[in-house]
Symmetry: C2
Subunit: 117 residues, 2 copies
DNA sequence: ATAAAATGAAACCATATAGTTTTATTTATT
DNA sequence: AATAAATAAAACTATATGGTTTCATTTTAT
């Protein structure tokens, strides 16, 4: 197959699309419901869904008059594989922790120590 | 800190920039050398490096008349963290293997089974 | 002291991106 | 049968992106 116009990396580059993926991770949803979570038009959301669809991150099925989208999470494995090349640089967990702490307020994560039994 | 114009996800969206990261993973290089690996102008490469720099994926240091760029791999941890949210969908290795096999010729990877002792 | 090397910076260009509004089509509902 | 709901498709817009060429600056070399 020839490479599609949008690949996974481009697809996840947009913050709105990443939010859409998060939504669909919880459950499959029709376009209108997805739209209700964003301040943009339904048409704009539909376009994002097309891009996600091209990248195979999401799959849409027409049911009655609505089109229901669901996450296709396996595709993200491509990203994981790409990342794995760089894991050698931080396969020691300390470097990860260091980075996370240093960027605590930037990344929108609240960090909780994993093994605080 | 306010979000920079380019974040990690946008930075890695471009194939050329991903190749640049690969190059720098091996060793730090000056702009001109990086350029020699691509069919585009030095100026274009410099721009890519600026974007990677904004995203903190690389760091450039001026040494004499050249500017030497090196990889800043910790930043990729942000991507790993983002991905981890979806790991629950394929934390069973079979689904990963399934995906990899099905897309063998598309992703340019040769897969070797990990634990084939 | 000049010339060459390496980069920086500016101006420009074509296309892509992310959004809009408008119009049409399909499918329920009443 | 008529209306409302959900989406599809098209046309348009502003800005971003990825590239170019040209000119200036800084730093070796000869």
């Amino acid at each position: 197959m020839t490479a599609a116009k949008h690949d996974v990396f481009q697809a996840i580059a947009d913050p709105t699309r990443r939010e859409v993926l998060r939504l669909l991770a919880d459950k499959e949803l029709p376009i209108s419901e997805i739209t209700s979570h964003f301040p943009i038009s339904r048409t704009a959301v539909a376009k994002h869904l097309h891009i996600l669809s091209e990248a195979k991150l999401v799959r849409g099925e027409k049911v009655g008059r609505e089109k229901i989208y669901q996450l296709q999470p396996e595709t993200l494995i491509e990203v994981k594989q790409w990342l794995s090349y760089y894991e050698r640089f931080w396969d020691n967990k300390l470097s990860i922790l260091k980075h996370v702490v240093e960027n605590d307020d930037e990344n929108g994560f609240t960090m909780i120590k994993d093994d605080c039994e």
